[in-house]
């Protein structure tokens, strides 16, 4: 997989960091695949009593976790002065899309058994599914433009387009909260908290910048 992606646009990184990245990137790539192997091993090891349910839950959760990770990149980069970390954002973002797509495919193919009538009904009738589909459809153009070519071509519009990821992450959290029982709401609420903090950080920076200018 070619992971030369849009992240780090306009950021120059020192020569030592380039070498460092050569090591870090493959390591992060493998780490991002671990949840996938965990899930596959669980299925073959007969670890799940209701495997489809477990697969749906795990892939969905990892999709959301990776989305939140991509949103952490800029704050980390600025707080710790790690310019190189921006070069990982595209890959982590694509992994978020990978898990989201797995999640959706498992639902359509295994859970709904490709019964498109049932799928359409569920999307129309069950709001949490509508929201989930909207989130995936929103992520699709971001994944498709997550490459150098698109960054160059879209210019300023690229950043604008990709800032929609905050809204999409919110949709994913809503999708999650909406389908759990009242008693299980703690975990999705924690993700909502993380998202709120990340947004707060962004707003704080915007205000600071306004005051400076």
């Amino acid at each position: 997989m070619n992971t030369r992606v849009a992240s780090g646009r306009g950021i120059t990184i020192p020569e030592s960091d380039v070498n460092f990245l050569k090591l870090v990137k493959p390591a992060v790539f493998v780490a991002c695949l671990l949840p996938f192997f965990m899930v596959v091993a669980g299925v073959f090891g007969n670890k799940f009593v209701d495997p489809i349910e477990s697969l749906l839950l795990m892939t969905g959760e990892w999709g959301l976790r990776f989305l939140l990770l991509t949103l952490c990149i800029t704050p980390l980069q600025i707080t710790f002065k790690w310019p190189w970390i921006a070069r990982l954002r595209g890959m982590i973002g694509l992994f978020a899309f990978f898990y989201a797509t797995l999640h959706l495919s498992i639902w359509v193919v295994l859970d709904q058994r490709l019964n498109l009538g049932d799928v359409v009904n569920a999307v129309i009738e069950k709001p949490f599914i509508t929201v989930g589909i909207l989130a995936w459809l929103g992520l699709l153009p971001l994944a498709l433009t997550s490459n150098r070519f698109s960054v160059v071509r879209l210019g300023r519009k690229w950043k604008k387009l990709h800032s929609v990821v905050y809204l999409l992450t919110l949709l994913v959290v809503v999708h999650y909260i909406w389908q759990v029982k009242a008693s299980e709401v703690l975990e999705p609420l924690a993700y909502l908290g993380v998202l709120a903090l990340l947004l707060l950080w962004r707003f704080a920076r915007l205000i600071k910048r306004d005051q400076a200018s």
Partner: protein
């Protein structure tokens, strides 16, 4: 916690099943020579010894493939022991079942505190294989050991004001990890209309797969109401209360739009957030890799027990009284 090891606990499940098949075959043999008339009503072949009691096989059990003991006891909703389905088996030893007392009260003549032994003593045990349909759209087929709840309730001599029966689960926040969090109203409360409680299908269970109920399955005493969603089958019962008014039940209080008092299995009435038309059967054939490709099955009205129980609800709008 189980203090004594019963012979049935040592018997591996496969041997237990084999034994049952042999006994079933023996039962058929008896029938062939016309000896069935000698057997009491409802009785089949004796299956095993359960705490010194003979367990009689109920003749109306479903012959569908059964859920394995492993599946049925590692995938549980028992929030007192944690909200994750794998939590109850991990925390099962936190449920202290000895000594166990059941408080009986309300609209009845023979209320009071009953030791578990006194509750169980007069009842003959049966093994009944029932379908269990969870409100989360999965189902299992489980061989329970128990006796009809109605036989027990009659002993307390409910009076004419007893329109409902309310049950409560043990409240023990010092030991039960789930009760440290207000995820539901504690103690867990469930209830039945008196005619539902007295229905011959309603079972008071003490075991499954020929073994004593493990903690995660609701030791030492639980309900099994096979035509209702699983959460109605309250676990680890410490209180039985006859009431004139419909009791407030835990899930109904938590989300009244989603979980009605009746909660009869009904494929036509969707849960507000998901359909109840189909279910995923969790049984021995649908584990591991193959389970990924197992087809869901259509959920049946009253979980397939309509013939027995539909008569209870002839005057009730089941869409409004879900």
């Amino acid at each position: 916690m189980v203090s004594k090891i019963r012979s049935s606990e040592i018997t591996p499940e496969s041997v237990f099943r084999q034994r049952r098949m042999i006994l079933q075959a023996a039962g058929l043999g008896l029938g062939a020579v016309g000896a069935t008339a000698l057997l009491p009503e409802r009785a089949g072949a004796a299956t095993s010894d359960f705490g010194g009691k003979k367990v009689v096989e109920w003749t109306a059990s479903t012959s569908e493939p059964q859920t394995s003991f492993e599946q049925a006891t590692t995938y549980n909703n028992f929030y007192e022991l944690g909200t994750d389905k794998g939590d109850p088996v991990k925390n099962a030893d936190k449920l202290v079942t000895e000594p166990w007392t059941v408080e009986v009260g309300g609209e009845c003549e023979k209320g009071g505190m009953y030791a578990l032994e006194d509750i169980l003593k007069p009842h003959a045990f049966e093994e009944r294989v029932y379908r269990l349909r969870c409100v989360e759209a999965w189902s299992m087929v489980i061989p329970w050991v128990g006796f009809p709840l109605g036989d027990l309730l009659k002993r307390f001599e409910p009076n004419s004001n007893a329109k409902y029966v309310e049950f409560k689960t043990l409240l023990d926040p010092a030991n039960l990890p789930g009760q440290k969090f207000p995820v539901l109203q504690w103690p867990y409360v469930e209830g039945l209309r008196i005619d539902e409680a007295m229905h011959p299908l309603t079972l008071m269970a003490v075991g499954l797969y020929g073994k004593e109920l493990p903690g995660q399955s609701g030791a030492p005493l639980r309900l099994v109401v096979p035509w209702k969603y699983g959460f109605k089958s309250i676990k680890s019962i410490v209180s039985i209360n006859f009431t004139e008014k419909q009791p407030d039940t835990s899930w109904n209080l938590s989300a009244p739009r989603e979980y009605g008092f009746y909660s009869n299995v009904n494929p036509q009435v969707s849960h507000p957030r998901w359909s109840q038309a189909k279910e995923r059967r969790l049984d021995a054939d649908s584990s591991g890799f193959g389970a990924l490709f197992a087809e869901k099955r259509d959920t049946e009205m009253f979980n397939g027990y309509a013939e027995d129980v539909a008569g209870l609800y002839t005057d009730l709008d089941l869409t409004r009284n879900f």
